[in-house]
Symmetry: C2
Subunit: 242 residues, 2 copies
DNA sequence: ACAATAGTGTCTATGAGACAATATGGT
DNA sequence: ACCATATTGTCTCATAGACACTATTGT
């Protein structure tokens, strides 16, 4: 911070009295629905002076210096408001700031990245799920939110290669084939069954529960995430194809 | 942005008229000097009303909405001012914002992370190198800069396990043993010679130049980074010990 | 019995770790 | 010749990929 910032006291006052950028927080919220990766988007308001009226945008908004203790709390609040989910996987994605990204002036947004289980929470208000097809969203988004979303998708795919992140997209109980399907949906390529099982089981991240999933075929063992739900890092990626 | 943010228009204008956080950019600049990883720090000014007077801090300062086109440009400017280096490896580290990190009020900083070669640039002004010993800095830093630095060290170490990042800490020409030494300094553990060479050479990130480094023993081939200096991601980490 | 999916085993390839062997300069 | 470091090779081990095989349910 502040190498040269001149802070003058109140009498000397007027200190810190230079223009400040607008400060917002936006959240990229992913879930798996209908066997697809989907992202939660809201529609911009149409009011007078609103930028990008009625465009789709990431949920987010201005930091409320009275209400938000810190950035992560602000992101968690926005997530809770839109989805009702209280303790998801939430990590910081990065920040985007420039003179031109918001027509109202120099602005910087702190972007977060959340994974929630398909069965968690209930949508509130104007938020809706939109599928990611072929690693992209069909629609154009307001501001630079398209860029932010692309960055989130890339980060997710990247991390899925070598971490247990998809576990946070799963419902409370799930089978190994379920989990593999989620990995495959995110990576958009098939994975090899036995290598997948070996990796996941030796990572010690899930534990079997006493029930099986039954269907018109051989039942499958149900698992749940182990308590300490930190993501696990594998020492190798899934070897990319080609 | 702005899903629910109530922007009150007085009629229509005067909106956006709520308190905004202070916005700064800080840069964690690493280099290898004296066979150690070092970070560039500045001393805080002592003036009236300055927070953390005379403490050590990361170089940085307020975003200048008149001068800085975007956050990355702001970070590059600050790096240039302190080191004279124009095009280093520069990536975003994350952002830290809260009501209490700066006594002057709610503030958010966008932290960047730079790697520069030992022989690049010349320090200007108040900036000085400080060694990282045992993965930590001895001194306490102003604000939450200790936390930001710790995060940068962790990110660096993490990425060094599976990327070619240390290449950006090297001078224009270097030998493979030089590069290995830098990896070892950052990771603070020895690496195995032949595995290291195989990995680096098969990554196609460096190319031999026509000269050798000569000394009191067998000469070593000099290499340089290949043109497109994107970092390379390996599919495995260096296997951690134990 | 059959279909369908769950789960295991076998074989090969790749690349890391350990460590030995060889190469090439200066002195 | 000898020292010191560079560079290469050999052997073993872990894990991914390919793919076949076995297991267990409902119908």
């Amino acid at each position: 911070m502040a190498g040269g910032a001149r802070v003058e006291a109140i009498e000397n006052s007027g200190h810190l009295d230079f223009p400040r950028p607008l400060t917002t927080v936006d959240v990229v919220i992913f879930a798996i629905l209908d066997d697809r990766l989907q992202v939660l988007l809201v529609r911009r308001p149409a009011g007078e002076g609103e930028p990008f009226p009625l465009s789709l945008a990431l949920p987010g908004g201005f930091v409320d210096v009275a209400k938000d203790r810190d950035l992560a709390a602000c992101a968690a609040r926005k997530l809770k408001e839109k989805t009702g989910v209280a303790s998801p996987y939430l990590e910081q994605l990065g920040s985007w700031g420039s003179a031109v990204r918001d027509p109202r002036g120099w602005s910087a947004t702190h972007a977060y990245f959340a994974l929630i289980p398909a069965d968690a929470g209930v949508l509130t208000g104007d938020a809706q799920w939109h599928p990611i097809v072929g690693g992209r969203l069909k629609a154009k988004l307001a501001f630079d939110h398209g860029e932010i979303l692309a960055s989130a998708i890339q980060r997710l795919r990247n991390k899925v290669e070598y971490t247990s992140l998809p576990a946070f997209l799963m419902p409370a109980e799930f089978t190994l084939p379920d989990l593999q399907r989620v990995y495959e949906i995110v990576l958009d390529r098939p994975l090899e069954k036995s290598a997948f099982r070996t990796r996941i089981l030796s990572a010690d991240m899930i534990e079997p529960v006493a029930r099986m999933r039954r269907g018109p075929n051989r039942p499958a063992q149900l698992y749940r995430l182990k308590k300490n739900s930190e993501p696990v890092y594998f020492v190798r990626t899934f070897n990319p194809p080609e």
